[in-house]
Amino acid sequence: MNAPIPRAATFPPALLATVALLATAPLWITKVGLYPYIAVEVMIWMMFALGYNLLLGYAGLPSFGHGAFFGIGAYAFGLAQLKLGAQLWGALAAGVAAAVVAGALVAACISHRRGIYYALLTIAFGQVFWFVSIKWHAVTGGEDGLLNIRRPALDLGFAQWSLASNEALHYLVLVALVVVVMLLARLVHSPYGRILGAVKQNEARAAFSGHNTWLYKWSAFVISCAVTGLAGSFFALAQQSAYPNVMSLHSSGFVVMMVLVGGGLVSFWGPLVGAAFFLLARDLLGAYTETWLLWFGLVFMAVVLFKPEGIAGMWRDGARRLRPASP
């Protein structure tokens, strides 16, 4: 029987495996036919997917416009650097802060809704931000976006590292990802996270238990946007640019697919798996056919129809079958 109140393991095997795999990636990634930059991109999308899953998986709130906050993080990172002369920390902070402010405003307009109405409103807001990014030339650079974003050095006060190489960037993003994972793993097992799950399962009862359900839904959106904005900042840092496509409906859809295929609804770790699966599919299938997204879309539909618990669910079932004796 499981513990009545679940508790996060201090060093869960999934975290150790993820770190081991990603920390050694620069050593083997070219040997398996991939290129170093893909690992950076995978980790950035992992972070985005984790932040997104706080909302979709844990709060049960379907946002289909989350790409907007990823884009806002990317643009804010670039603008802080290009217009205000910010260095790494300042630009990252700007990316998170911009996504948080935008998220707080949007969440204030939608947190009294749920289900399909919630989803439609998030799409609408997402499209508004995307449109602004295209049309507000003076600030966003229009359809070209922000070019020439630099990779400032990582300055820890006592030492400095250049982030010019993808390898250096790889380790910076890895550290950030691990921090995000550990904070979110704590959060979902904290009183806040458990009450959020209660609001997801039965909002009326949670309200009758004296909880401010609106505030939980609002704050979950804002926290999710903070993580998403951080991921977006790293994306601008890695790509050395920010462009409208980042905040389009496509990228909102990609993160949904990553989370669902990976199994975010049943596992904290699902989004990590899903992000890696999606980007590897993009590159490996994409090498054979331009229409890779069609094939991936079919896989996505098969998962949603036949195994809504995703890869994490398959893994869990498989592990159960191998160890029938354990509960």
Binding site: M1, N2, A3, P4, I5, P6, R7, A8, R186, L187, H189, S190, P191, Y192, G193, R194, I195, G197, A198, Q201, N202, A204, R205, A206, A207, F208, S209, G210, H211, N212, T213, Y216, S219, I223
Partner: protein
């Protein structure tokens, strides 16, 4: 003397249908008060108005001298009023213990703590555990609510309400769907809580209510048509004619 809890002249209209009109009753502290009536009499609407789900069109609801008419459910809960739900309304993915824990005051106090594990919230867990023991679910604390039997789920409903340490408890058709054995278990529980918690019980099982309540209000066509102790009601010609006093 002002009543512990009272409803004064409540009226509620849905479209052109008058569901409640001039509903008035008062409870003293520690009393078990029954509201009884046939299906469609307005019992559940009355319940929703009292617990904040609907706002009344007229009248007011007073709790310990405070006007709570039209307050949000959350605010009413925080004043110390807990309710059970007629429809199964639990957090099915959570264990029985966690269901009760979510309702406790100590958990509410740390609700925005995103750092410490919920499994370390000792005060909340202890309170929830005691509530489960009280309703006889002490051995099923780790069972997911969705996997409990019907009778156990009803008991958990009440444990969740108790875990909030209410001064007043509203039970909405607590016997619905229960067999004779389940009803006996429930009656035993209500008897145990009697005197400690003021209770308002909505029921259409007359025998259950007449055996437990200090006083009963009979609601029909959205109005209180009779009230009194169970003994008085058994003798009331209106109630006898309605066929409710089985």
């Amino acid at each position: 003397m002002s009543a512990f809890f009272s409803a004064e002249g409540l009226a509620k209209r849905f479209g052109d249908r008058l569901v409640l009109q001039d509903v008035t009753f008062a409870l003293t502290e520690g009393e078990v008060h029954g509201i009884i009536g046939p299906n469609g009499a307005g019992k559940t609407t009355c319940f929703h108005v009292l617990t904040g789900k609907h706002k009344p069109d007229a009248g007011r609801v007073m709790f310990r001298g405070q006007d709570i008419t039209g307050l949000e459910p959350r605010a009413i809960a925080r004043l110390g009023i807990a309710r059970s739900f007629q429809l199964m309304n639990l957090f099915d993915d959570y264990s029985a213990l966690e269901n009760a824990m979510i309702a406790t005051r100590p958990l509410r106090a740390v609700g925005f703590d995103t750092w410490r594990p919920a499994a370390d919230a000792r005060a909340a867990i202890d309170r929830a555990g005691a509530a489960l023991e009280e309703v006889g679910l002490g051995t099923k604390m780790a069972v997911k609510a969705g996997s409990l039997s019907y009778g156990d789920r009803r008991a958990l409903e009440i444990a969740v309400a108790l875990a909030a340490d209410p001064q007043m408890l509203f039970l909405d058709e607590p016997t619905a769907g229960l067999g004779a054995e389940g009803i006996d278990r429930l009656a035993g529980l209500v008897r145990k809580l009697k005197g400690r918690i003021t209770m308002l019980v909505i029921e259409h099982d007359m025998r259950f209510l007449l055996g437990l309540a200090d006083r009963v209000s009979v609601v029909h066509w959205g109005q209180v048509i009779a009230r009194g102790t169970p003994a008085e009601l058994r003798a009331d010609p209106w109630v006898r004619r309605s066929g409710m006093a089985a």
